[in-house]
């Protein structure tokens, strides 16, 4: 053991850990919010979870199930009341790791208007890297690259408030990307957007995952959006109640309903047809897949 330590002594801790550990590891995570009257609201009651590099995880659950609280632990915005969270082996509760953790995990929130701070799109996207004291030339490169990825390069000199809701949310995503995180956590990024805005954002997230290998954690109330993920986590009462690929999770209609959730209409139709004896293979999450199986 001593020899092994010696061999690896020059390897930075995070580098060593990333070879062995999942990208995000959570053990026994509990979180309680203190109330003014001395009481508390318990939001997480013991979450054990690992997320591998490159995974696309959808986090669903009813209001108050603990999804947003869990998300805020993934980049050290909250500190555990009990339990531990590691990002690439870095313990989030260790204040020395805070910047390293936040550089690895970018966050995007629900309301784009609360996240945009500058007078042009490119200045807004540059805000993150500027705070990391990155040289100007490198910032320029990163900003252009981030805007390219979300498809807004032509808008770089526009004032953000002149953009549509969907475009504003893409600017917020570009801002998160400009710090070059390995993972992006999005907390209901589409719930204030219209259908075209939603499509834009979801397509961009999907592309980031499949083409750029970005690890994605998407919090959503839309089960349609959850079908885009490889893995769906259902939260209930501060715990993980279900965990699996969307086609498996959506098989349990009764369970989902009991947890306050619905299935996408297409999945519901396929389920009813199977019940009536129409032979259909499992899965079939999209209109195209179900139409293809029927014809």
């Amino acid at each position: 053991m001593g020899a092994l330590n010696q061999v690896f002594s020059h390897v930075p801790e995070s580098g060593l850990a990333s070879m062995k550990k999942p990208f995000i590891e959570i053990q026994g995570l509990e979180h309680a919010y203190p109330l003014a009257d001395g009481g508390q609201i318990v939001a997480l009651r013991g979450v054990d979870l690992t997320v591998e590099r490159g995974e696309f995880v959808a986090l669903v659950g009813s209001n108050g199930s603990g999804k947003s609280t869990l998300a805020r632990h993934l980049n050290g915005l909250l500190m555990p009341t009990a339990g531990r969270v590691w990002v690439e082996g870095l313990l989030t509760a260790d204040p020395r790791n805070l910047w390293a953790v936040r550089q690895r995990v970018g966050m995007v929130f629900q309301n784009p208007d609360n996240q945009l701070v500058a007078s042009t799109v490119e200045e807004d996207v540059a805000f993150g890297p500027e705070n990391l004291a990155i040289p100007p030339g490198e910032i320029r490169r990163r900003v252009d690259e981030a805007l390219q990825v979300v498809g807004l390069l032509d808008y770089r000199t526009h004032p953000p408030q002149m953009l549509s809701g969907g475009q504003k949310q893409l600017v917020a995503i570009a801002g998160a990307l400009a710090t070059r995180p390995a993972c992006i956590v999005l907390d209901e990024p589409t719930s204030m957007l219209d259908p075209p805005g939603r499509r834009q954002v979801i397509e961009t997230i999907h592309r980031l995952n499949t083409q750029e290998g970005m690890t994605v954690v998407l919090i959503t109330h839309s089960m349609d959006e959850a079908t885009v993920a490889q893995r769906v986590l259902v939260m209930d009462g501060g715990r993980v109640a279900m965990d699996g690929p969307p086609e498996h999770v959506f098989e349990h209609g009764e369970r989902l309903r009991a947890l306050g959730l619905d299935r996408p209409p297409t999945v519901e139709i396929a389920h009813r047809l199977r019940g009536w004896g129409v032979p259909l293979p499992p899965g079939l999450l999209t209109v195209e897949a179900l139409a293809g199986a029927l014809c």
Binding site: M223, D224, G260, P264, V278, E288, L294, C295
Partner: protein, 308 residues
């Protein structure tokens, strides 16, 4: 209340380089007790139209008539009618402003000059209506509420006025499916009891058919469709052209029709669409293969035109 929108035009910042015409001659009529959905992408003019219905904006051209009185006028008659129009904004933080939840919800009833006991009763009723426990939330500071709770408080503040016309702008954004079902179910039950007019802006195509009888589609400041919910929401081409989503059951039925299936495409709800597909599947398999669907309910009931 009868609402008539007559050639309504609204231009923001007129006479400046930023002039933007949000509404270009809208003609609409809402009968008392109607339940109407309004659809349209961002920038279609929806929010501007809603504010006109509540008499909050002055038209650039045309008029909104509330029982024959021009809505934007500053006369006692116009004010009395505007008080009967409750508009719940999309962003609840735009309208929740008091120091406690009780005071916030009580604000409207107090302004109506109601006695304290009646105000308190309305506040309790409205909070229960939106699914909150009055005892638990009345004393809380609105800004310590979650987004979903804040939205409910804002809606309670409108319901406590007992308006004749209730206008909801994306009332369920950010609520989970169960919260949505419960809230809309209660609002619908109350609508049927009181016969108030319900005008609902929503992108939730799976819930709209359960709530409204009629749908108006706006695009670029104009009405591009106005008709029964079943007819408008099954028009895939129209919805797509406006940049809107097509309900999944409708998209599926269109795909099957394209593949030669003799299906009706105006089945908006999953259970209706499944019944229609099973019916046609059985016919097709009887003709070609010797298979049959075992448990399709015999004489599967054709849904009535009015869905809820």
């Amino acid at each position: 209340m009868l609402i008539q929108v007559e050639n309504l035009v609204h231009t923001y910042a007129p006479g400046t380089p930023l002039a933007h015409t949000a509404l270009q001659g809208i003609e609409l009529k809402f009968d008392p007790g109607e339940r109407v959905g309004i659809l349209g992408p961002t920038g279609s003019g929806k929010s501007t139209l809603l504010q006109h219905l509540a008499g909050l904006l002055e038209p650039t051209g045309g008029r909104v008539w509330l029982d024959g009185v021009a809505a934007h006028e500053r006369t006692p008659a116009a004010r009395a009618r505007k008080r009967q129009v409750g508009l719940a904004f999309q962003y609840p933080e735009d309208q929740v402003f008091e120091q406690t939840v009780f005071r916030d919800v009580a604000f409207g009833p107090r302004n109506l000059g109601l006695k304290d006991a009646e105000v308190a009763a309305r506040v309790r009723w409205a909070l229960e209506m939106v699914g909150l426990d009055p005892a638990a939330v009345e004393g809380r500071v609105p800004f310590t509420l979650s987004g979903g709770e804040m939205r409910r408080v804002a809606l309670a503040g409108i319901l406590s006025l007992h308006p004749e016309v209730l206008i909801l702008d994306e009332p369920t954004a950010g609520l989970d499916p169960r919260g949505r079902r419960e809230l809309l179910g209660r609002v619908l039950a109350w609508q049927q009891q009181t016969h108030m007019t319900l005008i609902l802006v929503s992108h939730a195509l799976d819930e709209l058919p359960r709530l409204v009888e009629r749908v108006v589609v706006l695009n670029k400041g104009q009405v591009i469709a106005d008709g029964p919910v079943r007819q408008v929401l099954s028009d895939g081409a129209l919805l797509r052209a406006a940049g809107l989503d097509v309900p999944q059951p409708v998209a599926l039925l269109h795909a099957l029709q394209k593949a030669g299936w003799a299906v009706r495409t105006d089945r908006l709800l999953p259970e209706e669409a499944a019944g229609e597909i099973a019916r046609v599947w059985e016919q097709r398999s009887r003709g070609t293969r010797h298979r049959s669907v075992s448990k399709v309910p015999r004489g599967h009931r054709e849904p009535e035109e009015d869905i809820p």
